[in-house]
Symmetry: C2
Subunit: 253 residues, 2 copies
């Protein structure tokens, strides 16, 4: 009789993960700091009794959240696929939730197979920060020119060299990216930006948001943004907006 | 010349307070545990250079939240009233926010003057708990008979003896209370209960919600509730729902 760990075929399991990034030093495993990746791997090691390495679609920074991070891992463990979410969730800390687990093709790689991603960024635009959402949005009480922001957002749509909208520290290769959609919704007194594209450079979304805040403050205008895009000049773009407003919403395959 | 602490007249200041109760042992000051009241008092002592005692409208339990807790305190400190919120918020931990401060009549007492209160209770009714709202709602994934819950809610409206819907440990005096309104909204897959009344016994809202969950599970029916109300029999009502779903929304004066 087979026990749960004796099955021979290796399965490739794809996870959809939600996490509150507040208490983690980002997604990626690293020495001397707790990451989301490592936290999930430790639980998988326990459940599968194997040493598991998971591959995440995107590396979120410290304090950045995810509603739809995707990761995959290979295992010979025979745990029924439909039981994977609850098995993990029952052991994981409450700020990481496995929302789904499915069997993926043998060659599926969460990072290389990704065709695009969608992020959101939330600004709380009220007088006082929220006691409840203090780590889940960026509190920015100053007046903003929303029409100006909306106009500036249109410039980012399409294919551009985003070298001017990248922090150093990323793996710098090709810096041309295509933005599919960029929307701004206002819910109560929150500004919710949603941006999707075929890929994003290191800190790219946060620099775009920081630039738009400066547009809203009338410190940066549309020609500055165009210059930053054409010349790749980081100094023409705005500050990097803080991490707690950013969410990895979805990964496209 | 007067300095800020030399003013002679004592002012009565009314605060509107929002807090995430997760990290506090409730509102009320107590030995060997951190309360919201004590946390605010310590900041006020620092700002006013006096020993301040604040009076809260309601004593929320450990893990219970507030959007509109009201408190008052008397001080000879001359800090301009419009600067009070920011002065406190700049020192308070981020899970407590002073949303407003106004001058109140000398005799105003946040607790005795209260004519009623409104609470809300949030149930997350989806398959998985939210990583973001893990301390801000009660995750209850099982199927619930919403129509049954709505019908049972009507029974609580009006004046009743709520002795059967009270935990021991409160100051037991008169147990008749009047419920003004009791509504249930469904937003996405959350159930948001809103209940207002002239007063609430200890744990009364949480026991009513726990009872309604049992109605939704078809373990308690309307005649059980009527019996609990008429006989004051705590054993006929449901369990006390957990604290993290409960919010003190508003205090009426």
């Amino acid at each position: 009789m087979q026990t749960s760990t004796e099955i021979k075929e290796e399965r490739n399991i794809k996870l959809i993960i939600e996490y509150d990034g507040t208490n983690y030093h980002g997604w990626q495993r690293q020495p001397n700091a707790i990451s989301v990746q490592q936290t999930i791997e430790q639980v998988l090691n326990k459940i599968t009794k194997q040493r598991i390495c998971i591959i995440g679609a995107g590396r979120t920074d410290s304090g950045v959240h995810a509603c739809g991070q995707v990761a995959n891992f290979k295992t010979k463990c025979s745990i029924p696929i439909e039981k994977v979410p609850n098995a993990l969730n029952s052991i994981l800390p409450k700020d990481i939730i496995i929302k789904d687990a499915v069997l993926a093709a043998e060659e599926f790689h969460a990072r290389y197979a990704a065709k695009g991603k969608k992020y959101s960024y939330i600004i709380n635009h009220t007088k006082f920060p929220s006691a409840f959402r203090r780590n889940l949005e960026y509190h920015y009480p100053q007046k903003l020119d929303i029409e100006g922001i909306n106009n500036a957002m249109q410039i980012f749509i399409g294919s551009h060299d985003f070298k001017g909208f990248m922090s150093t520290g990323g793996e710098i290769r090709e810096t041309i990216r295509t933005i599919f959609n960029f929307d701004l919704k206002q819910e109560e007194e929150r500004l919710i930006f949603e941006i999707s594209g075929n890929g994003f450079l290191y800190n790219m979304v946060r620099i775009i948001i920081g630039t738009l805040i400066d547009v809203g403050r009338r410190k940066i205008n549309i020609s500055d943004i165009q210059e930053a895009l054409i010349k790749g000049d980081r100094s023409k773009a705005g500050k990097t907006a803080p991490p707690q407003g950013l969410y990895l919403e979805e990964v496209y395959y």
